[in-house]
Symmetry: C2
Subunit: 472 residues, 2 copies
């Protein structure tokens, strides 16, 4: 039970220890890779299950495309290969022989999927085509960090084709909105949405939309992106269809994805000096029951809590009983707090006789004595309260770190010393954007709003407000 | 609407055309790979969903292990590397550099998972450890065939560790039985279960249990396997724990898996000259409604069938309406029969007025006029009937191709000419087993039973009955 690193002064260490100590992941014997343990994987499975249902409800179908992509495919879209080349893992030998053409382990599947789209899209009646894939992808990362940046990661990648640019744009924004609902309503993470600047957008896209979170240390995390690819990939892959008038046209494409990084965002958004705090809607275990076991009443208390568990499971709650006799109740409290279970229930022999339990909220450690008969009604309410409290707590954190600033000359010092959300105006020139580099910051996203009149770095007027921050 | 190849005389061609024409998969531009299309993927998702719930209900937890395995790991178990070496795909370059140690794309994960198990299993209290992974794996196949044998395929691999050999054996057989329930009760495929002969078992296992199907052409297909690995891998990976007496012990291991090959088994088990026939419990679409659209009543009929669809969906049925106005009803009948949808419902304007529909069974094309009010009651019964009929039809096929034979000298001729199930006795010697090679046959499995007294190839007495067949 060694102490956790201090969350305020040493967040990166705190993050890493939580990942391993809470049993979310373990280090793997391959550079930049992790083993996602059952506790962490259940969170990912819950994210997948919710998002998959939304992807299907919005008219997309799942398919599976190959892991390996011929090297020549990536070279078809010039910007695309330039963007991904440094991160590729390449299979050169297979079946005991050197391959004639090396195969790239997919870093993303645009090229493979667009090759297939070109085969499938022949007529306006084949549009829109709305496909999604759940898959593993590989990008050789220089600075890996569990969940946030791993060599192999897991994601869904949506790929769609449309007859008009307007429809493609609507698709791009619709899926961005689905992601934001997932982040805010399920992961309890407030996000800032916007466009990426040209220099930060996806290799080959016309526009990249993003939603950004700011973790507990004030650093920004790109949680997911949705790209309006327009026609560049369609042209590279000779993807043409006959429109209603018989004229050959290129379709407008989109792609969008979120990854296991969302689990990292969750860890980095909700926690305290005692460990992780999981939002109830995404927690693998919502309620842990810790029976206080004494020699003379042990069996009765265990039977009693098993009965409680069944009743609570029957109303849809995820309940675990910790019956380990080798651990003291105190050690169990410590462990389940570390793992972030939203509610802990303590039941001793006297509680049992009195027909009550003690319910403890993970977020503020409030204790409540609850009548056993009322548990099935009260616990769902408590869980929803914790869900809201977590979101509000994070919102408050954003407010505290949100700086509205005008001129870089004046805020450069603060920006360097203090991580946070810096909102200002921008003229949209790369020259001004580049000036942020020496302060280790970037434009995280371009907002729709226009609160500031001037660019943060030059005398030009501002085109749009931007959010500046240091990033993962 | 070109004709399908003859299922009786040209089954391999029939199989391949069904895969592509029914929209289950498409050829991919990478050797031995396919794109699994939404219709085929939905079947796989249904298999996964059912099996995942059973894997969890039997006390296993899902985790995710890396795709890449250091080459040296595979070499730790001598038999294992020998078995897999010819099939490996190897990453030699990544991040723009040659790797110090090549990484193998996993052909199976024993070595990676056992490396982690060795880290996790320290005490008898860490046992049993029961882990499952859903993943893609790569084996460089010489003769690829859609679903049945592809370079990249999808599977679950269960890996468990136990304190005793008896417990490991029970786990091995329990999961085999779960697979058989899936095959028989959901996929409607009768299977023959048994042990693999030593020469056919998994590289590194003590015993491999298998369940085999015989497809419509009389060829055997290994549908899945469950391995009692015992202690060989534990020793190779120095996986040791302290038992209750404080003595260091090696645990007993198991592993078991089924793959996307199950979709291939489904295609090859149920079909006829009109196309695929899908068992209702696994069909992506159980009922297709084809409205007969005439100019004057089109809108009314469409509104009517949408109403029907809603009513049927509300009782849990998977219903699709084909409203495509560019296709004639006849063309639609052809297409949905090809795709194997268990029940077709035809509704014309007159049917609508009379409050009836025509329901057609895919298996025998029986037509029934059903009152609209009775549909929600009658269709589930019809579907269950089709489910049983498919299983019985396959069982009958097995009976017809099941030959009980004594001496190879006498049945060698038939074996070469006629695919089928050949049951006989075997002395368990490799010498006798090898004699099957020149007849392109193998021992598919060793049965528990002992109906035959002598070995099929020598004068020794038989140890067990075996099933001999030609295989995919």
């Amino acid at each position: 039970m060694s102490k956790l690193p201090d969350i305020k002064t040493n967040f990166p260490e705190w993050y890493q220890e939580i990942v391993y100590k809470a049993g979310l992941a373990d280090q793997a014997p391959v550079r930049g890779s992790i083993v996602i343990l059952p506790y962490g994987n259940t969170i990912w499975e819950k994210i997948k299950s919710y998002l998959d249902s939304r992807i299907k409800a919005t008219g997309h179908q799942n398919a599976i495309f190959p892991l390996f992509i011929p090297e020549s495919f990536l070279k078809k879209e010039a910007e695309h290969v330039e963007g991904f080349a440094p991160e590729l893992a390449v299979v050169t030998h297979a079946g005991g022989k050197q391959l004639e053409e090396p195969l790239v382990v997919r870093p993303t599947s645009e090229t493979m999927i667009h090759f297939m789209f070109a085969k499938w899209i022949k007529s306006y009646r084949d549009l829109p085509l709305k496909i999604n894939q759940w898959a593993n992808v590989v990008r050789w990362e220089k600075r890996p960090r569990a969940f946030l940046r791993t060599t192999e990661f897991f994601w869904q990648e949506g790929h769609t084709a449309h007859a008009t640019k307007q429809e493609a744009l609507e698709e791009t924004l619709q899926m961005l909105q689905e992601y934001i609902t997932l982040a805010q309503d399920y992961l309890a993470i407030p996000v800032i949405k916007g466009r990426k600047s040209k220099s930060e957008q996806f290799a080959g896209a016309e526009a990249t939309y993003t939603f950004e979170a700011f973790l507990m240390d004030g650093k920004a995390l790109q949680m997911g992106t949705s790209h309006l690819l327009s026609q560049s990939f369609a042209k590279s892959f000779d993807m043409k269809y006959q429109d209603q008038k018989g004229v050959m046209q290129y379709p407008y494409l989109t792609s969008w994805g979120v990854t296991t990084r969302l689990v990292g965002a969750l860890i980095g958004s909700h926690g305290d000096e005692h460990g992780l705090i999981l939002p109830p809607r995404i927690a693998p275990i919502q309620i842990v029951i810790i029976p206080i076991l004494r020699k003379d009443s042990k069996e009765k208390v265990i039977a009693h809590v098993k009965d409680l568990q069944q009743k609570l499971q029957s109303v849809g709650l995820l309940v675990h009983i910790d019956v380990d006799e080798h651990q003291s109740p105190g050690a169990k409290f410590y462990e389940w707090e570390l793992k972030g279970v939203p509610i802990r229930i303590e039941v001793g022999p006297r509680d049992m006789e009195q027909g009550v339990v003690v319910a403890v909220s993970r977020i503020n450690r409030d204790k409540q004595v609850v009548n056993v008969d009322e548990l099935a009604k009260k616990l769902p309410v408590m869980l929803e309260t914790i869900q809201s409290q977590l979101f509000e707590r994070a919102q408050k954190r954003y407010q505290q770190m949100w700086h509205k600033v005008e001129k870089l000359a004046n805020f450069a010092n603060t920006l360097e010393k203090e991580n946070g959300i810096y909102q200002t105006g921008w003229c949209e020139s790369v020259a001004c954007e580049t000036k942020l580099k020496k302060h280790s910051a970037t434009i995280r996203c371009v907002l729709d709003s226009k609160e500031f009149k001037q660019c943060f770095a030059c005398d030009q007027s501002s085109a749009f407000d931007v959010i500046i921050g240091k990033s993962y």
